[in-house]
């Protein structure tokens, strides 16, 4: 049986062949992700064509052909050297201090800068989850900072800070003030409303539900109109708040209704056992909420709070419509300046605004996603 002798098992493993070139490395990636089927190849081609069609002209307009410096519109008009001028960044540079401060007096602008620094400090303290004493951070952000900011921005003549009426405020300053007041007021109010909505007391529950559903059911513009037109009617003449304060009240009320729903979502995610354990320890309602439930609920819902804040930040542009000079309104005002009247002025102004809002909102949404991933990891453990 010669053949039987020749069949024997291998005693050493065969050498592994390298994976085919076409399924590894760049080539393999391309094949799997871009050219896996005829339909995919067609889609890829369409996308590449779209990118080639859109991106180079955009780059040319906003960067390569853009005008970076100049004193007036002459720089941005078509000329011999520059038959097709791109974006007029010179316009943004000349107007930039107006975009940041509005008509805030030049000699007092350090106060605005200091406000920005104080605010950045507060945000960093709260946003960095590993920061020391975040409870102090919360007190700083929600109590100390608003008072300091009011003193700084509005002025107290007694301590040598002259009054600056809000009609002179403008630009990014106003956008930031509206957004900050919105978050600082809406978080505590939202927590109260959310607790009210889950209260066992029928009057409290009814009042909370009515307020929340009413505000969430109408557009922000109508709330702002109400604040700016009706509020002065509801108070005696001498207490009539100024225009910015009216808008701030409208924004704060609006944001707190949305915040209430976000906080309620957080409260719903806390298991019953936590409530029961706290009650078994003999904690009163408020101590139970403040010591046990809310810290957990707010932590879970932090990404949603940030997302609500992104919405609020975008919504601050609406104060434009009730005549307040926020950042977007200053852009609108500046692009109408006859010294800079060129075909590209509007586009440049809007592009600048878009970059500003995009950077702020995208940054916040990245942060919220990081926190979310971190919470998910902690949850899995």
């Amino acid at each position: 049986m010669a053949t039987a002798d020749q069949v024997y098992p291998r005693d050493t493993p065969a050498q592994l062949l390298p994976a085919p070139v076409a399924s590894t490395g760049v080539l393999g990636w391309l094949r799997a992700n871009l050219f896996s089927s005829p339909a995919n190849i067609a889609l890829t081609m369409i996308c590449v064509a779209a990118i080639v069609w859109i991106v180079p002209p955009l780059l040319r307009f906003f960067i390569f052909d853009a005008v970076w410096s100049g004193a007036d519109r002459e720089a941005c008009l078509p000329s011999e050297q520059r038959p097709e001028p791109g974006a007029c960044w010179a316009f943004v540079r000349v107007w930039s201090s107006y975009f940041v401060y509005g008509f805030y007096p030049i000699s007092e602008r350090w106060r605005v800068d200091l406000f920005f620094v104080l605010l950045a400090l507060g945000i960093a303290w709260l946003a960095w989850l590993g920061a020391p004493r975040r409870d102090l951070g919360a007190i700083y952000f929600f109590i100390v900072l608003p008072i300091l900011s009011y003193i700084l921005l509005s002025g107290v003549p007694m301590i040598g800070l002259p009054d600056v009426p809000t009609s002179l405020w403008g630009g990014i300053l106003v956008t930031i003030v509206v957004a900050t007041v919105g978050i600082v007021a809406s978080l505590p109010l939202g927590i109260l409303l959310a607790l009210g909505r889950r209260s066992t007391m029928p009057a409290v529950r009814l009042a909370s539900i009515t307020f929340i559903e009413f505000v969430r059911g109408v557009p922000l513009i109508t709330v702002l109109f109400m604040a700016s037109v009706m509020l002065p009617l509801f108070v005696p003449d001498r207490f009539a708040p100024d225009k910015l304060v009216r808008a701030l009240i409208g924004v704060a009320l609006f944001a707190s209704a949305y915040m209430a729903e976000v906080v309620r979502g957080g409260l719903l995610s806390i298991p019953r056992g936590q409530y029961e354990a706290a009650q078994a320890l003999g904690l009163s309602y408020w101590r139970m909420m403040i010591l046990v439930i809310l810290p957990q609920a707010l932590r879970v819902t932090l990404p949603n709070i940030v997302n609500t804040f992104i919405g609020l930040f975008k919504d601050t542009t609406l104060v434009f419509i009730v005549g307040i000079f926020d950042f977007l309104r200053t852009i609108e005002a500046a692009r109408g300046d006859p010294h800079w009247a060129t075909p590209v002025t509007s586009v440049t102004g809007y592009a600048f605004a878009a970059v500003f809002y995009f950077v702020c909102c995208y940054g916040m949404s990245r942060y919220s996603r990081n926190v979310e991933a971190r919470l998910a990891r902690a949850h899995r453990r």
Binding site: N33, L34, S36, N40, L43, T44, C47, V48, A50, I51, T200, M201, P202, A203, V204, A207, E213, F214, R216, G217, V218, P219, L220, I221, T222, F225, M226, V229, M230, P232, L233, F234, V235, P236, D237, I310, K314, D315, T317, L318, F320, I321, L328, E332, R335, P343, S346, V347, Y350, A353, A354, Y357, F358, C361, Y362, S365
Partner: protein, 377 residues
Amino acid sequence: MAKMLQFPVRSKQQWTNIALQAALVVVVGGLIYAAAVNAANNLAKAGIASGFRFWDNTAGFDISQTLISYSSSASTFGRAFWVGLLNTLLVASLGIVLATALGFTIGIARLSRNWLVSHLAGGYVELVRNIPLLLQILVWYNAVLKSLPDLRGSIAIPGGAFLNNRGLFLPQPMFGANFGYVAAALLLGMVATLALRIWGRRRQDSTGQPPRMLYYAFGLIVLLPLVVFFAAGEPLSFSFPEMARFNIRGGAEILPEFAALLVALTIYTAAFIAEVVRAGILGLRSGATLRLVVVPQAMRVIVPPLTSQYLNLTKNSSLAVAIGYPDLVQVFAGSVLNITGQAVEVIAITMAVYLFLSLVTSFLMNLYGRRVAIAER
């Protein structure tokens, strides 16, 4: 003794709760009362009437887009309200249809296995969601549509339309006398298709034979009206816009305000709808699996947030006021409020409209939620 025990016994906590609620009622009631007294005083001082009598007074201002007949000299404020409301509903309903189509496309593109397609779709969503809607509306209106050529340089679009910075001028369909028959045939076809579908479902339940709807539906909804259309002597013609010296005559005009608002609302809301779709459909299958297994389950997750996006779109259409599209807020809370000065009544009516829309929607969503809820043991 027995009588004493029937008296409700309340703990200290319960009494506190009752006191708290009483205090809340008193404070809220007091605030409302004080506001009402102040408002009455202030309005009287300014010589502004109160009540809803202004509704029947002559409006006296023009509106640039009216779906129902309206004239500044003869129509009332009430009529202006309906004009504004219809304009809001027009832009909102068109926006909802377009945003749904675009949003589902982008959402499905994000799930694509093609790297380039999914990342382009992702880029679109990130870019659009992170820029305020108001800025986008202004860009479309001021930077895009207003910078189109003027009347003389109008761009002629094949098919008899013109585009310039005053708007888009389209051929207007003129319905002949017999067009009613065509519409009736279309309606009949749709009703018959619906009936057939219900019958088909029943038959499938009892016999297991799936209905073959596609051919019947095509015949009833497309062919039947077409046949009637030719039988009735083609009762449809178009009035084409013509260039005159100072304007464009004839045709239907689409205002740049309307176009800018519609485009911006569609693009903005589509980004949010894409996210809703992506969250609902976790994986793509092909053919019957998609239609019979993935979509029905995904719909349960998708429909509630989708409707809330529709509501957002409707509420966001009030940004029309920034570019002067005559929607409810611009006409009513703008012009009518400025002329009459009756802030309380006008704002209350405007808010009531939006509130009505959202309450009806959330009521319907509750019904839907109950219908599709998974029966749990």
